[in-house]
Symmetry: C2
Subunit: 220 residues, 2 copies
DNA sequence: CCTTTTCGATACAGTACTGTATCCGTTGAG
DNA sequence: CTCAACGGATACAGTACTGTATCGAAAAGG
């Protein structure tokens, strides 16, 4: 609303400007993760990016706008990664003659869920986002939208993977996903609290998850 | 450290002082929930409680200390409530001749999970706590401790309730609890985001949960 | 009833940050 | 080569908050 710049206007953002925005976003990601969205002063973010506040206000109207822009970027990246991994996994599954054993599944799940970037800071950011949305007067911040879209995407991905593995869900898919999501998110939280470093956490989660998957699916 | 007042010293807190602390804690609960632990200034909390900052610094050494005190109080209250409800439920279950049907179970679970105080602000506080713990240099803030104790308590409660209902867990108890906790916490989060007001949310959760319980338990 | 202690209020100095208004170097178009 | 527009730096005025140090009233103790 505040920054329409709709299609008919000059969409042209100079390379210089894009670079500035990127650096500010990168810096913000760090600082937000470190001290929180409220604890982060515009000044500090700019300092981290080696810019002055002038640059900031020339690119974003407020700290919240910056945060939302950051979130959008990260979600996008995240979604892409999932798509890529899902494609790999599907290919791998269809290439195999026999349906995967539990052990195979554990490996696949582990690989699929293995952290890519800085998982810890992502989790922190997401939690900040949740808090922001919780306090949002009337849904200005569309946490739900982000999540619904993401969920939908994920839903398709998981279903098609399961299918590629020659299985199908016993209980309705959406209910299954609720369970899976719950277990997964809880695992992430626990993992975040005891430090993400431990790689065995991921393996453990992988096998547990695979087991769960075998419990709530059946051969097609 | 700074305020030992260990057991051999005067534990006596005058009624006046206790009252002041309570009012400050109450105010803090509101303000923290509204604007977050970082967004809340000491000044604002004091204003809400109709005290000056003098009173605050005379009772707490910092905002974080206040927050931790608040959390302790709330956890305590929470735990008590669960104990009470569990006792009621157990009594109710043992009084019955026949093991509960799914419908019964849905009712019980719904009652057990039905919100008591301000669920929404509690969820917000807990999330703030999580974030605090995430950033905690080296486990000063003992989120894990709180949670482990709580979890342990809950674990016993759930198991004994299930037993009183004449059933037992198919998969190991701790794994079952992980699943239940995941599903529950996720439901709370979703509920928090779409406003806690909707009472049908609780009912829905109740029946889903009961169903899940029937899935992962069997008659003893 | 007077004294001592306790506890909260007030005053103060200092800091960090905000958003704007203005300035100036850079860059790209003609 | 020139000039306008762009994009970021700097300066400024103003605000909110912090923690401490001091003060005075109310309670407790004798």
């Amino acid at each position: 609303m505040t920054e329409p710049a709709s299609a008919h206007e000059a969409d042209h953002v100079s390379a210089r400007r894009r670079e500035t925005r990127t650096r500010l976003l990168d810096a913000a990601a760090e600082v937000f993760a470190e001290v929180g969205i409220q604890g982060a002063s515009v000044e500090r973010i700019c300092a981290r990016a080696d810019f002055s506040r002038g640059a900031f206000y020339s690119n974003f109207s407020s700290k919240e706008q910056l945060f939302l822009a950051l979130l959008e970027r990260e979600y996008e990246q995240r979604a892409n990664q999932i798509r890529v991994r899902a494609a790999e996994l599907t290919e791998c599954l269809t290439a195999n003659e026999h349906p995967p054993t539990r052990e195979d599944a554990a490996g696949y799940v582990t690989a699929f869920l293995s952290p890519s970037g800085n998982e810890s800071s992502w989790f922190t950011l997401e939690t900040e986002f949740l808090l922001l949305a919780l306090r949002d007067p009337e849904g200005e911040v569309q946490h739900v939208d982000f999540n619904l879209q993401f969920r939908h995407e994920l839903s398709n991905v998981v279903e098609s993977i399961v299918l590629a593995a020659g299985r199908r869900f016993i209980v309705p898919v959406d209910r299954s996903l609720t369970i899976l999501a719950g277990v997964y998110e809880r695992a992430v939280r626990v993992s975040a609290l005891s430090g993400f470093d431990a790689p065995e956490g991921v393996n453990e989660l992988g096998s547990r998850f695979a087991e769960l998957l075998f419990t709530i699916t059946e051969p097609v």
